[in-house]
Each structure stands twice: as structure tokens, then as C-alpha cells.
Symmetry: D3
Subunit: 135 residues, 6 copies
Amino acid sequence: MSTTLYRKAHFNAAHRLYHPEWSDEKNAAVFGKCSNPNYHGHNYELEVGITGPIDPVTGMVMDVAILKSLIKEEVEDPFDHKNLNLEVSEFKTLIPTVENIAKVIWEKLRARIDTNYGIIVKLYETPRNFVVHQG
Amino acid sequence: MSTTLYRKAHFNAAHRLYHPEWSDEKNAAVFGKCSNPNYHGHNYELEVGITGPIDPVTGMVMDVAILKSLIKEEVEDPFDHKNLNLEVSEFKTLIPTVENIAKVIWEKLRARIDTNYGIIVKLYETPRNFVVHQG
Amino acid sequence: MSTTLYRKAHFNAAHRLYHPEWSDEKNAAVFGKCSNPNYHGHNYELEVGITGPIDPVTGMVMDVAILKSLIKEEVEDPFDHKNLNLEVSEFKTLIPTVENIAKVIWEKLRARIDTNYGIIVKLYETPRNFVVHQG
Amino acid sequence: MSTTLYRKAHFNAAHRLYHPEWSDEKNAAVFGKCSNPNYHGHNYELEVGITGPIDPVTGMVMDVAILKSLIKEEVEDPFDHKNLNLEVSEFKTLIPTVENIAKVIWEKLRARIDTNYGIIVKLYETPRNFVVHQG
Amino acid sequence: MSTTLYRKAHFNAAHRLYHPEWSDEKNAAVFGKCSNPNYHGHNYELEVGITGPIDPVTGMVMDVAILKSLIKEEVEDPFDHKNLNLEVSEFKTLIPTVENIAKVIWEKLRARIDTNYGIIVKLYETPRNFVVHQG
Amino acid sequence: MSTTLYRKAHFNAAHRLYHPEWSDEKNAAVFGKCSNPNYHGHNYELEVGITGPIDPVTGMVMDVAILKSLIKEEVEDPFDHKNLNLEVSEFKTLIPTVENIAKVIWEKLRARIDTNYGIIVKLYETPRNFVVHQG
């Protein structure tokens, strides 16, 4: 048996996919129009799931208000209305693909949440492309 | 390999989060505005998944019409347009958090469905808060 | 030509449909299970539209941050996690149907927004029932 | 840890549920109105998930443009605006239930994608009925 | 000022776009793959809006239970799980485009609802193509 | 009576809200975090509606394939994966607010569609903020 509590959140950001050791041609070949040097952007829609036992006293896996605050501190405040490549430290050396953004969010939350709890990060880059990163 | 057939359903209900052995102050501290003594309410959106083999004759995991009927009998009829705290027997001694409501739904369906089949209950309390309970 | 800027918001509340001068039987006959004396509830999803000229300097019909604040003050703060019948003054003498709730929201916003602007209120009581009130 | 990249797609098709060795009465008893000899149809909404490691150079599980092309070749081109029973070879001997359609899609993609990657197929027959097939 | 009460409904059906006086070539040229002689199909999602005064006694534009019944009788019962071309009388001489289906639904409801009320029909053929027919 | 045919489309882009004659302080005061000099971005979801008579021969207001092509040429090709401020000529002298983007799209389509048809542009900047521009 498992129970996972989910909370949705969102942030809007600019990014580009770009490998600094590659030529512009190779970046364009691998990343297509996502490599536009002038950036493009997305409304990232995020679902964070926390897996753990239901507390028999409160009936909660986790207080959703605490989860909401953690997401605000670790994701919304640093990522919202930002240029991910230029303004978010994790992406100075990591390409901000939706896979890597989901992984970074997972790792930031992992550092804040008791390891008895599992964490699932579902991140929509568009309504048509998304990633689930879990562990 | 696994195959899970899902059916959506929904019910609207009032509830409050309240621990009867706690003071009003402690209830407010733990449950915030969800502890309002006059109740508030939600449109609960439910997804029930049944995991099992595809019947080679019918091509179905389960007849979705039967699943729809089970959900109606076990969830919609007893929960819809009800006050969960006052009118649903399971919540007379159990706080109707979204985690506990999902667990109760799972247990009610578990008692009706062959144990060769796995059951997944996904319950949205709001479009932003939801739980997955499975086993 | 017209331009309308919309902002979404939401609140969760309990209510019942009940006419105080009618017998319980007549209330049940007219309002069905929505008349349950123990209340039921909904996630109300709200869209507010403001119709007016695009300011040639800012490119905005209205600053969406101001609209968001107005909705918070006039709708979310007084309605969210409340029992509409018992705790919201407008519904002490007015049945809180989705039509009347939309009308009350429209009137509260009308009192705060320059009459040069049109106001549209779209209010979902459930994902399947909703009202548009405009003028 | 696992990472799954998802891509959405869709196709519209006619079908009927019908077992050729059964009488019309038995087909109607088992499949109900889905057995209508004149067919009915659906907008099938599809999510394909690919589970595998994030490539440390590109930051991708798989190039989503390649995944999009595979789905187009294996699913959209042969299924879209078709009668599944009459025009799609896999369903000449297999009843096109949503379970079997999801399984066929999974098998077609499995034949095209490196077996180091897991494949998840989520197929909506309607917004209320859907299947997840994975392995 | 105006108030419109909406109710959602849905039906699944097969159809083809085909002009009987045209050659197959001309049908294919005008209607493309929608002209497939073996039919294709859709999940039609329907919103019906009724515009009128809010009854000062009940707080309703119209009893949503009555509106739901009318939609069931006039639309869901005759259209759901049907082949529109072969089994729905209105489309024996009218091409079942989404525009014409919306118009037929509007006319069927118009014949059942007091002409003091306006009627709006919004019909989704797919999540990406839809029509609003009103008067 | 009126009939409007709608088609959905989408594009992803970076932008910032910035008035070139204002100081950075004034831009920040008016536009808040939307004025970030490094840009941010959105998934713009677009609905274009065309109002006109239903052609009695084809049953269509307009061939949706033509409408889809017009949107691709006038909106998706020039706007998708672009920096609106730097790469889209219309926004070199016009602030790319969602109101102005909707107005520009309307004007570009107006120049391509017979003036006997009305045009409605609904543009979502986020799932929570959107504009309807019509005439």
C-alpha cells in the first residue's frame, strides 16, 4: 500500500537549450529551435507528490501548507519570471531541459524533506511535453 | 507488463478537519481554515484504476459499466451532496482529509473487487491538491 | 472592437439551497439534494473579465495585479473556506445558487471598478455547471 | 531513481466492439451500445512515456522530436480518421477495446525503441475512460 | 445585464463528411480524410447555455435538472454511440459538420424551451475544433 | 443567430514588458517582475474564432484546414520559439502585453480573411491570465 499527496504549482521562465562546447550549428542540429540564442519560454506547471504513511492522528501524509511553502521557497521564488540560463545557478553548468529542471527540483526538495518520504516531480514544459522524475 | 483501466467519477460534499479531543485552538493551529466549524466543501473528482490481465476473449480488464456501477454504489450514492463528518459513517471516527477519504474509497472498492486485481484511487480535493492511494 | 482581460481565481465553500418560507418538503422538491440541511460544498472556479480600451502607453486594459487584488479582497477573502449561508452576509437573505453567487460577485466588483469598464463574471460551481453574468 | 519523458498526441477513429463468433444478442449483452453495427467513434488522446537515464551531454532522456515522429509513423498515420475494425490490420483479429488499442500501440513502439528504455502508454478513449499499459 | 446558466454533456459518435451529389474525388478534395467512406468518430463535448432573468424566488435562471433532462432527451439519447449519417434523421439530408450538428442541437432545444430564453450551443468536435451557435 | 467556428493553436515565446522611454525603476514599478531585463516566457495557447454563415453546400463556416494554415503562417511560424521583443517586428515599437499580442494576431488575421467574417482571438498567456479581442 502507498499513499502520495500531491500539490500543484507553476512558474513562467525563459530558457534556451545550448551546449557551450558546441558550435552554433551543432547546437541547432541537436536542439532545433529550442536553441534560439534570444531565448524562448514556457509556463511550467509542476506537480509535487510526497509518498509516506498517513499520520493516524492528523489523517495527513504531510501538511499541504508546509509542502506549498517548500515549493514556493525552493522553486517558485528562485525560478518564476526568470531566465533559467542566466539567473538560476543550477543551470549555469547544466542545460535547462525539462528533464534536468525536474531533476533539479527533485534534488532541492529532497534536501528539505525527511528521507522516509518518497518524492515525485511531474513537470509540464508545455501541455504536450512533460517529465516525471521520482525516487 | 501491466494494464490498468481507469474510470472517472465525482461527488460534491461538505467537510471540516477537526480532532474531537483537541481544543478549538489546537484544531485551528493544525488544520487552519479547513477547521471552520461551519464547514466548507469541495467538488471531489475521482479516478479509479483497476490493474489486471486483459481478458483474451473480451479484450477488457474489467467491464467499465460494472466499474461505473461499483463506484456509484460505494462512493457516489453515499458521499454525493453529503456532509462527510455528519452523514458518512466512516468519518464519524476518522478525520475526512483527502488522504483518509481516498483510503476509505479504496477499502470500500477492495471489498467488492476480486483480489487478483490491483486498485488505484486518485482523488482530487481541488484541482491543486490530490492524493493517489494504491495497493 | 472590444478587448477583455480575464483573471482566474477560486474558492472552496459549503452551501445549501433553502428558501426559509418553504416547508422542508417544498425545499426538497425544488432544490433536490442541494437542499441537504447539513450542507454540501464546491470548489468554485472563477473567471473575471474586464472590458475596456488598451492603454496605449502600458499596453494593458488593466493591471492584472490590481485585478488579482480586487478579486482577493472582494471574493476570496470573504468566501473561501466559508459556509456561504451562515457566514457571508449577502446570502443571509439570498439563496446561494450559482446564479446569485455570480451576481453578488459582479456587484461587489462593480462597486470597485470604474464604470467605463465592462465586467464579466464566469463562475463554475462544478466542472459541469456554470454561469456567466455580465453587463 | 527514474525519469520518464512524455509526449502527447491524438487521433480520431471509428470502432465497434464485436466478437465475430458470437451472436448479435451476445455481442449486445457483453458490449452494450459499443457494439452498434454502424460504428461509433472517439477522439483518442494519447500520452507516451519513455523511461531511461538522462543523457549527461544533452540533458535529454530522448529527443522529443524523434519521439513525436515515431508516434506519428506508428500511431497517428495508420489510425487517424480511420475505422479501426475495417482499416487497421491489428484489429482484424483483435477487438479494438481501449485496452487492446493501448497494447497494440505499446507493441508497435516497443519494436522501434531500444529495449533499455521502458515505455508507458496512457490512452484516453473519452475524458472519463482511459488505460495505462506499461512494461 | 445578462445571466446565462450552462450545463455540460457529451456523446460519442461516428460520422463522415460527404456530399451525395459529388464524386468521391470532389468529396475527398473538399473534406479530406473526414470523407473516409468507412467513417471515423469523435467524443463530442457539449455546453448548453440558457440566458434569462434570475427567478427572484428560486435564485435560478432555470432548474439545471430540467436542462440536464432536456439535453439527455434531445441530444444524448438520439446521438450517443450512433453513426450520425446512418442513424440520426436530421443528418440524412444534412452533412454532419460540427457547425451543422451544433445548429441541429440548437434547433431541437429551441423547440423545447420558452422563447423568452436565449440559447447558446458550444460543441467541441475535438479539443482543438469547436463551434458556438447562438441566438 | 450567429455561428462561430474555433480552432486552437499554440506557440512558446520569451518576452519582457518594458517601456523604452522609462527608467528601469519606473518599468519595474509598472510591470513588476514581468519587466526582468533577461526575459521570461510563456506557452501561449490561442483560440481563433471565425463568425459567419454556414455554407449551405459544405455545411462549414470556413474550411478548418484553411484556418489552421492561416494561423500557422501568421502566428505560429513568426512567433513560436521566438523572443517577441527582439525577433517579432510588430513588438519593436509595441509592448508585448497579452492584450497587444492578441490585438496584433487579430489584425494579422483580419488582413487575410474576408471582412464578411467576424474574428475573435482568445489568447492565454498563462492558464490564469487571458484576453479576448474581437470585432
